[in-house]
Symmetry: C2
Subunit: 335 residues, 2 copies
Amino acid sequence: MQDQESVDLDQRWSERSVLITGGLGFIGSTLAIRLVELGARVTVVDSLIPQYGGNLFNLEGHEQALRINLSDIRDRYSLEVLLQDQEVVFNLAGQTSHLDSMRDPETDLAINGTAQLSLLELCRRVNPGVRIVFASTRQLYGRPRYLPVNEDHPVEPVDVNGINKLSAELYHRLYADVYGLSSCVLRLTNTIGPRMRIKDARQTFVGIWVRRLLEKQPIEVWGGDQLRDFNDVDDVVEALLLAAADPALPPGPYNLGSHEKVSLRELAERLIRLNGRGDLRIVPYPAERRKIDIGDYYSCYERFQVATGWQPRRRLDDTLERTLHYYRRHLAAYV
Amino acid sequence: MQDQESVDLDQRWSERSVLITGGLGFIGSTLAIRLVELGARVTVVDSLIPQYGGNLFNLEGHEQALRINLSDIRDRYSLEVLLQDQEVVFNLAGQTSHLDSMRDPETDLAINGTAQLSLLELCRRVNPGVRIVFASTRQLYGRPRYLPVNEDHPVEPVDVNGINKLSAELYHRLYADVYGLSSCVLRLTNTIGPRMRIKDARQTFVGIWVRRLLEKQPIEVWGGDQLRDFNDVDDVVEALLLAAADPALPPGPYNLGSHEKVSLRELAERLIRLNGRGDLRIVPYPAERRKIDIGDYYSCYERFQVATGWQPRRRLDDTLERTLHYYRRHLAAYV
């Protein structure tokens, strides 16, 4: 038996046309599966660039229930056709690695800046009534001046990725303001769960920790005392759905976040405990990364909570346990 | 007889190799001429895109004293060679029209964002010891929340140009912070004087006012009550030289500005009075531009004044008079 809220949610999404950029990625694929369950007509776009989060396995078994279009968001011609007649775009595609953005800043800009601007121009021209939800990042706050970080905190990105994500966010808000495009910006904090990239630390360091644990290697914790908040991917999916569902919701930006905050060392220890075994090694923060280290970070997500009623509902331990369970079964598909 | 300060200035620039991007433009060419006077070895780069500020006439008569290289800053291969062995880069090239940035946002991004990032990458690789001074703009503050606007004012660009100039500024500051590149960012307010674009309002509305006045057409003043501050181009050139001369000066950003502020209507009236004749017509702010109107604006430039001793020294009336005089003699070269 469904409660009233889920009935509402079903009706809200049933038969609606939805495009997810980055839809083979961690969050995008989890969202796609949820939307299929809710009865939406889902198209996912993904470049499958090997260093990014896209993985065909993320939607294995769901291929008949949605449309998978392999293309890069820098390819504006395919995007123009895919955007037509969509009611909602979940704009999740992006380069997410902070280190890669420093090694190859121009590619980061092409994907996280230029392609985002093109996408908005296309929406304005071929689908001005679309609702577009953009996944931004806490990365653009830089080193917190105070905690928890709310949306009024100064924006001081410490890497090229943060600068370009800021531009993309500002484009989304500008197109709402000037052209009346219905956009909404969420600033995600660390998101974890099944389907995240675990091959390396490009998407989240928790990914490589899970991999090393399951491969019986010690987890390397850089520093260890830094505090972080983590969101379960299912909570983030719920936030994305809420942000999309109400076209009257102003563009934001809105932080996501969690009331549970832990140090990196504690997170590693919890993972080891939940796994039943494992080791961790504290190593000094690598020199190459020190300049883009931000110290402690956790969010205030009150603005989004007040606007939509959202709050994170999954406990961190449950998320970690579910994640370990997922990768124990599917490790080979992710390494 | 020179005073001590000018002797110092001469010695500081004598025989130094200097590159000016946008060097055929309004500020760039004025700076180039000044640097030649000071004994520097000057190379200017300019794309001469017809809609922008570059004009060969700006350096007419100076061609033998400096090197003019026609190329676009999006052309990274020529830029790579031109950057080598320069001691200072004055990075002034850019798309400056707010309206053009809305009509063709991708070009604005390519020039004001992508090319700026490439330039910094090139500096880092082929000339990491260079001092680079970047001309940013008050445009990125958006609608002032308080006046005068200092550098702590929130950054809330109201057009694509402001977003992209913000990115470029953040790249310059990031490359200073992470790679030790010696950069400095000045946020210019309305700059006027000889050599500005007067063909249309793309660079500054004062340009088209001067043109209309000299062509005996009424000046069109949009709104009229908005307050603005104006800097004489010679004061801006002095600021650029000061920002470049001290490699220990932190990247900023630093506002330029003026203690003299006037309404647009008053500025038009002054121009007419100084010209001896002319008419003005107050027209409602055009709908197309209303969304990117920012209301009153004037800067606090105290941070730069404290850091370098700079202050604007030219009186607005003198600037306007010198400007009218210049265009009376050279109108044909600018329309």
